[in-house]
Structure formats: structure tokens, C-alpha cells
């Protein structure tokens, strides 16, 4: 292959719009600078061109507005990448039936009576943490004693206690006034083993209210065993990888779109703004909302590794709005890709395919 062909090949590292405007000129300079006996590009020239092409693809044009657009789009894409990766990670979904049943049986020594009515699968609206809950009702004796026995049972079987046993009093009912609320007592702890976590909570009416039919009727003493999966490092890596991939793709697309925007004529640029600005604005609000959530939870100490599902929560909380952002982005990219460039084209492009103004 001739030196000319080698350089043309290496120039493919540059985006098409750049090759169209600078390709022949850059090729001419490369050939001018090459010694007469050179047959293949020097290694330093190869690195220089690859680096130049990469820089050209990732560097937004000069101007605060272009940079703001690029950063906003990339951050939203990172959020979207993490949101997509969350449900694909091993953390998503409830624990397997066999694991959940074994955990509940190991915790309480038996499955709940009437299991079909007492087993629930649900998910948390905030972190989409799917769980399976087993409710044990009609137990002989005090639920608090049953919880303590469960703790002893799990400890003896090698479970690691993650939240120690605690007793808490609260009121159940429509209001806090003594006349309308039922005083309750709760005993709870949490433990984990082999990728499964259980939270055990015993609840009963406390004090004299327990014997007052007017206040305790319908509130049966019970022990609930909630089984979830524990967060594995793989899930964090999956979500982190999704965020990084989203950031990279969003950045590259944003740079490409703003470079295209600069090269369109005034009318097309206005249409692009109308299509893109609403999506960018709402996208920025999503990013700010997520940032606010992360900072707020971090400061309050309420942030847990379950937060890997928080991006999915933020973007699915208002699905119509998220869809509008996606529509705006797709429309903007489609309009940016339309032919019609005001850039300075090479009169003799290095690659004939670069004459098409769509790149």
C-alpha cells in the first residue's frame, strides 16, 4: 500500500465533517512532510493522527453555550445509561423463590400457614428493590419472643446480623391521638448470608389496648420476614459501566450535533434549537433532580448501595417526560444529520465519500 493510501486510511480517525473540510489539506501536509523514501507512516505520525482524530471527535467547539450543551447532554446520557443498566443488573428483581422460601423457613423454623395468602412480592417505589414478604399470623405467644428466637436461629446457622435487634413503639391508626390510634410495639433485626438478606419484624398491639376490642380488633400480632437480594459488586459495576458508556456516547453525539449545528445555515440552526432546547432543559432538570437526591441522601446518611437503582427510579418516575426528552434528542440528531452545510469543503476531498455533506 502506498504512503498516500496509508495516510488516507489514518485520516479515517477524524470525523467526516472534518475530513470533508480539512482532509485533502492534511493529506497534502503529511505528504509534504514525509521524507522521499518513506513507504509507511512513522509510528509517531500514526499516534499523532489517531490522537488528533480522537481530540476532534471529543472536543466541543469553542463557546460556553456549546460546552454547556455538551456537558448537559452527556450527563443526561450517563443517567440514562445507569437507568438502563440498573434493571439489567443482578440486583434487579426479587430473590429466587427457592432462596426466599428457604430463608423464611430458616428464619422462623417453618413456612407460614396458608402460605398462598401470606406471601407478597413487591418493589420499593424509590429504589425498585424487589422483595418477597412472608407474613406469619396466629403465632402462639408474643411476636417479640418469636423475633428473638429467629435471631438466635439465624445466628446459629451462620447468618451475619447487619441490623441488631431493636424495639420500637409507635402508633397505628388514622391519627396520633390516644383515642383514635392503636399503640403498637415492633421488634426487628436484619441479617444476610449468601447473597440473600432478611429483615424480620414482629408487630403487636401493646399495653391495655391489646385487650380492648374497640382498638385492637383486626390487628393481629404478626411476624413479617422480608427477603431481598444483597447488592453484589457485579451490579455496581454494571450500573457504573452503564453510566460511563452513556456519558461517552452522549458526549460524542453532543459534540457531533453541535459541530453539525455550526455548519448548518441560520434557518436550520433555528429549527435545531427548537427541537433540542426543550429536551436539554428537561434533561438538565432530571440531572439536577438526581444530583439533589444523591447529595441529600449522602448528607442525611440515608444513602445505601441500593441507590444503584435510583437512576431508573428518577427516569421512570415521570415516563412521559422522559419520553419527551428522548423524542427531542432523536429529532435533534435526525435534523442535524440532514444535508446542507455551510462549512468550507475541500475542492478535492481526500476521500470521495467525504463529499456528501451528511457526515
Amino acid at each position: 500500500m502506498s504512503l498516500d493510501r496509508w495516510y488516507r486510511l489514518l485520516l479515517r480517525a477524524y470525523p467526516r465533517w472534518h475530513r470533508r473540510e480539512r482532509g485533502t489539506e492534511l493529506l497534502t501536509t503529511l505528504l509534504d512532510a514525509a521524507p522521499p523514501d518513506r513507504r509507511r507512516p512513522a509510528a509517531l505520525d500514526v499516534l499523532d493522527l489517531l490522537r488528533g482524530g480522537l481530540r476532534c471527535r471529543i472536543r466541543p467547539p469553542r463557546g460556553a453555550m456549546y460546552r454547556l450543551v455538551t456537558v448537559t447532554a452527556a450527563l443526561f446520557a450517563a443517567l440514562a445509561g445507569a437507568a438502563v443498566a440498573g434493571p439489567l443488573s443482578s440486583y434487579s428483581g426479587p430473590p429466587r423463590d427457592a432462596d426466599a422460601i428457604a430463608a423464611a423457613e430458616g428464619t422462623m423454623g417453618a413456612l407460614p400457614a396458608g402460605a398462598a395468602r401470606s406471601v407478597a412480592v413487591s418493589d420499593s417505589a424509590f429504589d425498585h428493590t424487589d422483595f418477597v414478604r412472608f407474613d406469619y399470623v396466629g403465632l402462639p405467644g408474643d411476636p417479640g419472643a418469636a423475633v428473638r428466637a429467629a435471631l438466635d436461629r439465624l445466628t446459629a446457622r451462620g447468618w451475619r446480623v447487619t441490623e441488631p435487634l431493636r424495639r420500637q413503639e409507635d402508633n397505628w391508626g388514622p391519627c396520633d391521638a390516644p383515642t383514635c390510634a392503636t399503640p403498637m410495639v415492633y421488634h426487628s433485626f436484619a441479617a444476610t448470608r449468601g447473597g440473600v438478606a432478611v429483615t424480620v419484624t414482629g408487630a403487636a398491639v401493646r399495653g391495655q389496648a391489646a385487650t380492648d376490642p374497640a382498638r385492637a380488633t383486626g390487628i393481629e400480632p404478626r411476624v413479617s420476614v422480608t427477603v431481598t437480594k444483597t447488592l453484589a459488586a457485579g451490579a455496581v459495576l454494571t450500573v457504573g459501566g452503564g453510566a460511563v458508556a452513556g456519558l461517552a456516547v452522549g458526549w460524542l453525539l453532543a459534540v457531533w450535533a453541535v459541530q453539525r449545528h455550526r455548519r448548518h445555515r441560520a434557518g436550520r440552526r433555528r429549527v435545531l434549537l427548537v427541537a433540542g432546547v426543550p429536551g436539554l432543559f428537561i434533561g438538565a432538570l432530571f440531572v439536577l433532580a438526581f444530583g439533589n437526591l444523591v447529595v441529600g441522601l449522602s448528607l442525611s446518611g440515608g444513602w445505601t448501595p441500593k441507590g444503584v437503582m435510583a437512576p431508573a427510579f428518577v427516569l421512570t418516575a415521570f415516563p412521559t417526560v422522559t419520553a419527551l426528552v428522548a423524542l427531542s434528542a432523536a429529532l435533534t440528531l435526525a435534523l442535524a444529520a440532514l444535508p446542507g452545510s455551510a462549512g468550507r469543503a475541500d475542492p478535492h476531498p481526500a476521500d470521495p465519500r467525504d463529499t456528501a455533506p451528511a457526515g
Binding site: 480539512r22 489539506e25 505520525d45 476532534c56 478535492h348
Partner: protein, 112 residues
Amino acid sequence: MREPTFFILTALVEQPLHGYGVMQATKELSRERVSLRPGTLYAALDRLTEEGLVVVDREEAVAGRLRRYYRLTDHGAALLAAEVQRMRETAAVTADKLRRRPAVRPAIAGGQ
């Protein structure tokens, strides 16, 4: 201002030059300390053009080759002059400090 940028602008002070001409001139002006490769040169020219420090003066297209000549703008010349002044002041401060140091005085004073 980074050194390659300084020498690119300096190379264009007297006359417009094409890419290879800029590469040769920067090498010569810097006494071969700055040796720009085409990818680096055109990244710098892209940036300098965006900033309005250089503009395309003319084009020559012959036998499938294209040479664009770049010219220093008035804005570029003013920025370069300001940079020269800044460097001169910085050098003067440093030279003054060195003159006060006995061991180095002969070298700064020209070996006297």
C-alpha cells in the same frame, strides 16, 4: 500561551504560510525544540481559527493537492505582542533576581 502556539503565531507574522510551511518555520524559530506533527498542527490551527487569531488567506489546489495559506489577524498580532511583552517582563524579573546572586552574575553579565 503555550510554546507551540507562540511559535505558530510567530511563524505567520511576516507572511501567510501553508501547513508544511508552518511546521518548518516553527522548527526553525524554536531551534528545533518545537517539532509539530500534522495532527497536532491542524488541531492548533483549528483552535486558533476559532479564536480569530489566524484566518485562511488563500488556497492553492494543484494535482489533487490542497495547500491553504494561513494569515495572522490583527487580533492575533495584538495577542502575540502582548505575550512578547509579558515574556519580556517575566524574563526581566528573573534576570534581575539572578544578577543579585553572586555565583551566577558573571554568566548573566556576559562573562565579565
